[in-house]
Symmetry: C2
Subunit: 458 residues, 2 copies
């Protein structure tokens, strides 16, 4: 006997109920994106390797799924590279294409490639799967959906405001009640490095303080020492750890702290604009928080940094984003500022599932199954089915010639609410006996009445 | 300067208008599938190589995109295989996963893997991309969408009828007016081989006569000779070439031709049931044709064979399918008969595009863009935007502080129909000047009136 089949680790099959629930999420996200003036694009699942490699750092490069060249091209395999343990070069000799790792780099590539047909500022959204060769673990998949919205071609801070309102709108409409949008600004992080006299070590400092939640104050200090950050700098950085208050209280303190750093003060000014305007427009359900240690590790952010977490279910961020000033520079257009956010639909799904936020009526099997006594009544059922479908009422005719009990059991198993029974009497009078499988009630009605009944339920 | 970026040959970017048009197709297909009682499932983009290889024949295997193993696993590269020019074995040593080639084999795998939670007969649909390493050419892409519907777990011929009605329904609702559903039955092909005394050469005979359209009668005869089909058999097969009449005329002839073949007569009987019932139920726009030379090359078909072609635009088939009796046998469940069809959404898109079948209103940019004179009026615009979006009216606030003319030019460029202008006077009176950019008309109204106006247009 053949072995029981399976799927690769870190991937998933979705049953009908799950597909419907996931579609519910995408539909709401799409509707809100549309309300905020974003238009959809789609890019191919795989890009040229040269488009992707080097854009996500060394760690990212390693997680990119590559497509094996086919046919004769395989002969170009670089043995020497393998013998010298240069696995990256060996892989390069075997592969020219790779599955996309996120939607941001393909978007930058798209903007540069199609720049002549795009009107800027360009608001685009994109809802497609991405792939990462991550080690599979709880809540981490090798294939998952990203839902991105970006505006490119404007430096206006009103866009930061717009995107934060939109995050609030999406998550509120999905039914989440308790979540926090954390904000920071890369320029503030640059200012901190500058004030500490460690301008060149902004990445090391950023990466270290980003871990405050995970490894605590002590851990961060150790990490800073490992990276050869001076003790005087560390002393200054330690001051920041205890500023866990409202942004209204923290902003003046950080202004004083950064008073000698032009870039730092610019960051504070930007953040203040965004927070003030958000407050005036008021959020629906999101809490907002200025979080000085938020860095998100992504080097392409140059201004606002955004991260969203659920306060009900402990989990990684469910949405993240920020402003970037030179994303398209990677592909040859300089000075094109943009800002974008990305929803992690799979994590949102897990949260909604845990909190039972999906509407009950979401999973509708067929509306009615038509059951019959013989070939002739089955043929009549097929005519009725045609009429029901013409009215967009989902139905099936039981395909086999089986006992009524077996047919009704099937209707129960697939959770249909109604069975329409056609026997000799119904056939002769062109009627149908409609049975409510939940209540057990039944009535014999005309086909016209049947259509009316279902149409009025829509 | 960086090189202008591009995408792999055979793949495509989709601009907003194209995404909307494609979505229009999928939405209609999905709605009709739902009406016929099909439920959605989704499977991962990549499967274990062992799941896919050997299921599509040698040609198919070569067209499967494989995923390169990553990291240390690369060291398992089988040099000997490469040196012996055994590229398939070399590829196997480098890859354990592959992108799906169609939706049928993953469906069979799904059914076997989840058999305990499925109620049979199981009606599922699946709309997802598939990938093939085909040489890119007109109308052939390396990544394209398939829209499949299958019923598995019943041998009832009512399902053949159901699926043919559904094909007619989908294509009619998409706006196609002239298309033909071609039908044949594998058992008839088996019968022909039997009657010709070449039972073992059914594949060769089938492949040859399938090419009648392309290479003509003479070509088919040559191909049959090449395959060592006997001259007496060829003489018999030649009789079939001239039966291009209605099925009502052809069926009696083929019955006589196949009178000594039990399987052949079974095929005729099945076909007759399907065609007779279709005629009684009547199709919307499809023409139906019994096509004795239709084979579709796929060896897993065991009964009905279905193929659909547009009569308006010359192109390959836009839908195909058939009955299979042992698809899940590949994965260990025997005797599970099923029938399925697959729409080629990309070809349907090309046809609809050529025939201009997409509704005009499909491509809606934002409904209104709010323009302003200064920061204060921009802030008021942001409040108006919030109200519009709450009413599901899509809008944007022009992000920069620019001259009104520049802002209105942008509105024109992105094809927005309305601009809402807020200057000092509007700000003071909490009104907005609504300008119809197509007609040039404008009026100053309250925010409440603005909302009413757009709500009534929905």
């Amino acid at each position: 006997m053949a072995q029981k089949p399976s799927i690769p680790k870190g991937t998933r099959d979705f049953a009908p109920i799950e597909v419907s629930q996931r579609k519910y999420i995408f539909t709401i996200i799409e509707k809100v994106f549309h309300n905020y003036g974003f238009l959809p694009i789609q890019t191919p699942s795989f890009e040229l390797t040269s488009t992707l490699l080097g854009k996500y750092g060394e760690e990212g490069d390693r997680l990119i799924f590559r497509i094996l060249n086919s046919g004769e091209k395989l002969k170009k395999a670089d043995f020497d590279a393998l013998n010298n343990n240069n696995l990256a070069r060996f892989a390069n000799s075997l592969s020219e294409k790779a599955l996309r790792y996120d939607l941001t780099v393909p978007f930058a590539r798209y903007v540069v490639q199609h720049q002549n047909s795009i009107t800027f500022p360009f608001r685009r959204y994109q809802i497609q799967p991405v792939w990462r060769a991550d080690r599979p673990q709880h809540g981490r998949y090798q294939e998952f959906m990203q839902c991105d919205a970006d505006v490119i071609g404007s430096t206006s801070l009103t866009l930061e405001v717009d995107l934060i309102l939109m995050i609030d709108d999406v998550l509120t409409q999905l039914g989440l009640t308790d979540f926090t949008i954390k904000l920071n600004n890369r320029k503030i992080l640059a200012g901190i490095a500058q004030v500490c006299g460690e301008t060149n070590k902004i990445i090391d400092i950023t990466v270290a303080i980003d871990k405050l939640d995970k490894i605590g104050q002590h851990g961060v200090v150790e990490e800073l020492r490992k990276k050869n950050i001076s003790e005087s700098a560390i002393e200054k950085i330690k001051i920041l750890f205890n500023w866990e208050n409202t942004w209204q209280e923290t902003l003046p303190k950080i202004k004083t702290f950064l008073s000698t750093s032009e870039v730092g003060l610019k960051g504070v000014e930007e953040l203040e604009y965004v927070l003030t305007n958000i407050e005036q427009l008021s959020l629906k359900r999101a809490k907002i928080e200025f979080n000085l240690t938020l860095a998100r590790g992504l080097n392409y952010y140059t201004g606002a940094i955004i991260e969203v977490k659920s306060n009900e279910i402990k989990m990684g961020s469910i949405c993240g984003g920020g402003r970037y000033d030179d994303l398209t520079g990677l592909f040859g257009i300089k000075n094109m500022s943009g800002i974008g956010i990305s929803f992690g639909a799979d994590r949102i799904y897990d949260i909604m599932n845990s909190l039972q936020l999906f509407p009950n009526e979401l999973y509708s099997s067929v509306s009615i199954i038509l059951v019959h006594f013989d070939e002739q009544s089955q043929r009549f059922c097929m005519k009725i089915a045609q009429k029901l479908r013409k009215n967009n009422i989902s139905c099936i005719v039981y395909p086999e010639q089986s006992k009524i009990q077996k047919q009704l059991k099937y209707a129960n198993d697939i959770k249909t609410q109604y069975a329409g029974i056609v026997g000799e009497q119904e056939l002769n009078t062109e009627t149908i006996t409609l049975k409510n499988l939940k209540s057990g009630e039944q009535e014999t009605i005309s086909i016209q009445q049947l259509l009316q009944k279902f149409n009025s339920q829509k």
